[in-house]
Symmetry: C2
């Protein structure tokens, strides 16, 4: 349990109970959560924290590079503890979010190449590209049974 304290310290963050709760949530389920759903999940575990604390900490953990924000899904932001580059598919119907392994493209991280080319040619300094593709998941495609 001291892991959390050192992890936080290494990233310039203080320890707090909400932070531990959030980090252990991510450690267990390597999932894509919204602030609201994370808040509800932690409350159900008996944790005492407020929604604003969840927002604050998701922001802090993101700044620290411990988690990543998935942009522009549908109003609400999702967070992912998987830091390594990968893409996401989001179902417009049920909201499901799944990872899209990089392997689908012959092991080439194409967005990385786009970024590098863009930096060379444009003079911009860029972050890691995020690729999220909207669509309909297999379940939602099926006619209602």
């Amino acid at each position: 349990m001291d892991d959390v304290r050192t992890l936080l310290k290494h990233h310039g963050l203080r320890y707090s109970k909400p932070r531990e709760a959030i980090l252990s949530y991510f450690a267990e389920r390597d999932s894509h959560v919204s602030a609201e759903s994370l808040y509800l999940a932690l409350r159900q575990r008996g944790e005492h924290l407020s929604l604003s604390t969840v927002y604050l900490n998701l922001g802090a953990l993101k700044e620290a590079g411990l988690i990543r924000e998935l942009g522009g899904i549908s109003g609400e932001a999702f967070y992912d503890s998987n830091i390594s580059p990968h893409y996401h598919l989001v179902c417009k119907s049920c909201g499901a979010v799944v990872d899209l392994p990089l392997e689908v493209l012959d092991g080439t991280v194409v967005t990385q190449r786009v970024k590098e080319h863009a930096e060379e040619h444009s003079g911009w300094r860029l972050e890691e590209p995020k690729l999220t593709i909207l669509g309909v998941c297999p379940d939602c495609q099926a006619p209602k049974a």
Copy 2:
């Protein structure tokens, strides 16, 4: 000026003054606008319309395929009249949005390939991928003069 009427009709939309104003705005400047900035720009031209009408019509024009929405920039949505596939760079500092020509990647529309691979392997049905990379534009990188 009858262009607008026919254009709208061909896309199953009625004519209205706000619609004409919005379309001609896009026709002149091939730019990336938010609902708010479009609203202000049109008011300054003397157009009488409301912000909700702008939202409604941006939605309608998007549905009709006349404009495209750029997802996940920073809370507010941007719209682009350039329908052809291309990427965007967004400056975190000043909010500038610029096009990233596809040429930077040897003419290969990589996100398209990602989409196709994903559809084959995952069973999802996907929309066109949108790639927006956050960063800092050359102007904002310069030390204040």
